[in-house]
Symmetry: C2
Subunit: 314 residues, 2 copies
């Protein structure tokens, strides 16, 4: 794909998170040593909408082809540390029958074990920031480095996952006080709030800090809770379901990318961003790794966005 | 509530199914000897939109207050047999924690055991018919009685449940060849088709006969598959969840009632009908029995319909 061009008004987006080498088994197929990690999926997704900066770490073994893939999307990899002393974060997992949960087979943190996200100085004023689901202490450390100037305060999206809810809840609670938009899946929102009704759970989450909440429900779509109103959207009806890995990460990446492109966090903009995020994440599940996400192109994304509009209008 | 008035163009709807006395326990509360049965929920729901005829059976013990409730909705109960020799169908059940499934505690079929739905002669030409989830052989028996005149062929909606998929599949398959619209929940569609992807399952169901499929996903909304297009709608975001009994029945009843009122089965009409069905069924879960469904009134239903439109538009 050609390096994307963005509208003149588009602001940059910063993605911080894991970059990994994955081996994934599903009930139907297997793919080994593929590009993975939340920040890989999220940065490619964001790059469809806005200039995208990536902060993460990889080892000396990180394949040049993977780096080339990110650069082809125009992603600024100045913040991607390459630690020559170690190997890239490696994860392998196996999805259970009917994709009802997955089991981790191997985690080798490698260079990720001592990773501390350090922002290049020209990243510190990035106006739209996504903090992937790394340890909340590290997410907080990123926020510490962002500009404190009131008129340039960045808009911050954070993701998390169940491990941090169980093990580092105080850090997570501190984080929530500092972010604008919290993206969480339905099970995790139940775990964190003790509330199964998503509307009530979202109210509790907003009391913990973020003024905007997105609850993802996988194949059942997602819900947006914004001070100016709520929004619900179904999943894009995928018929070729290969591997859900990275769906949530590409969802969040598209979300922050679209907001950066629009340079707005209004309710109408957030609704469109959620619809684009839905379209983009539907691509991710249609292949292993970022293959389909990366290969599809903006035109297919726009088609799916319009299809979602047609699918939901009455 | 006053007896409803309908648009001059509205056609009548016929509802066939169980009328029961229920005792329901949820994790939070219990309510005994209340009006239940698919046809009770469905006929009250349909009555908000179109003149509604009810075919079912009750025993001599059926409380006059329950009959009065149905009549207050203007429901034509000429087809409701009262069997003086027996007692009304009685069901009691208990929902499990978090409403994840329910257990039947008691079933006393009573007069329902020998029930054979016989249509009064003036019902046989009813243009819109809902067959509640009674035995497929009885659903077929109703169709046998409907007018065969080509230009007056009724539009038939059928519901079913997992027991009939397990025990009387040949009858169910015969039924499916004879109905226009099949309403089924997601688990049952998986059971019947062996396919978990709802879009693919709907394709398989359409090959079995019905040209229109609705797949209900409970709190995750519902999906419409029509020859002219597909439609997805989230559930109405209820915050006062009391008892899900009858939600699916009132959904189907509102659906057939709206189609009868519009005298159309076009794709745009079906989408609106699904949205109204979503609004109506959200009322059902807000109380035990038909209390909230019956008490809410058309104005609240219209409000929820508009709220669903606002919730889903981007």
């Amino acid at each position: 794909m050609p390096t994307p061009t963005y509208p003149r008004t588009a602001r940059p987006a910063l993605i911080v998170g894991s970059v990994a080498i994955d081996s994934v088994a599903t009930p139907f197929a297997q793919s080994d040593n593929i590009l993975g990690g939340a920040a890989s999926y999220a940065s490619i997704a964001a790059s469809y909408f806005a200039p995208t900066r990536l902060v993460g770490v990889v080892g000396a073994d990180f394949p040049a082809a993977f780096l080339k893939r990110l650069k082809k999307h125009g992603i600024d990899t100045q913040g991607l540390q390459i630690d020559p002393a170690g190997k890239t974060f490696y994860w392998s997992g196996r999805y259970r029958e009917n994709f009802e949960g997955r089991d981790t087979l191997t985690i080798q943190l490698n260079v990720f074990d001592k990773f501390s996200p350090e922002l290049p100085s020209n990243y510190k004023g990035t106006p739209f920031v996504m903090l992937g689901a790394i340890q909340p202490a590290l997410q907080n450390h990123v926020i510490d480095q962002l500009t404190k100037e009131k008129q340039h305060k960045p808009f911050i999206l954070a993701d998390t996952f169940d491990l941090w809810i169980h093990t580092t809840r105080p850090d997570l609670e501190r984080l929530l006080k500092r972010v604008d938009l919290f993206v969480i899946n339905e099970e995790e929102s139940q775990l964190l709030t003790g509330e199964r009704n998503p509307a009530i759970a979202a109210g509790k989450l907003r009391k913990m800090g973020p003024r905007i909440i997105v609850i993802k429900k996988g194949g059942h779509g997602s819900l947006l809770f914004h001070p100016d109103g709520n929004f619900a959207i179904p999943a894009y009806p995928v018929t070729k379901f290969i591997d859900p890995t990275g769906a949530g990460d590409s969802y969040a990446g598209a979300l922050i990318g679209y907001l950066a492109a629009a340079n707005s966090t209004s309710f109408p903009t957030l609704k469109k961003a959620v619809a684009y995020a839905t379209a983009v994440s539907s691509l991710t599940v249609e292949s292993f790794s970022v293959d389909r996400l990366s290969g599809a192109g903006r035109k297919v994304i726009d088609q799916r966005y319009r299809a979602l509009s047609a699918l939901t209008r009455f």
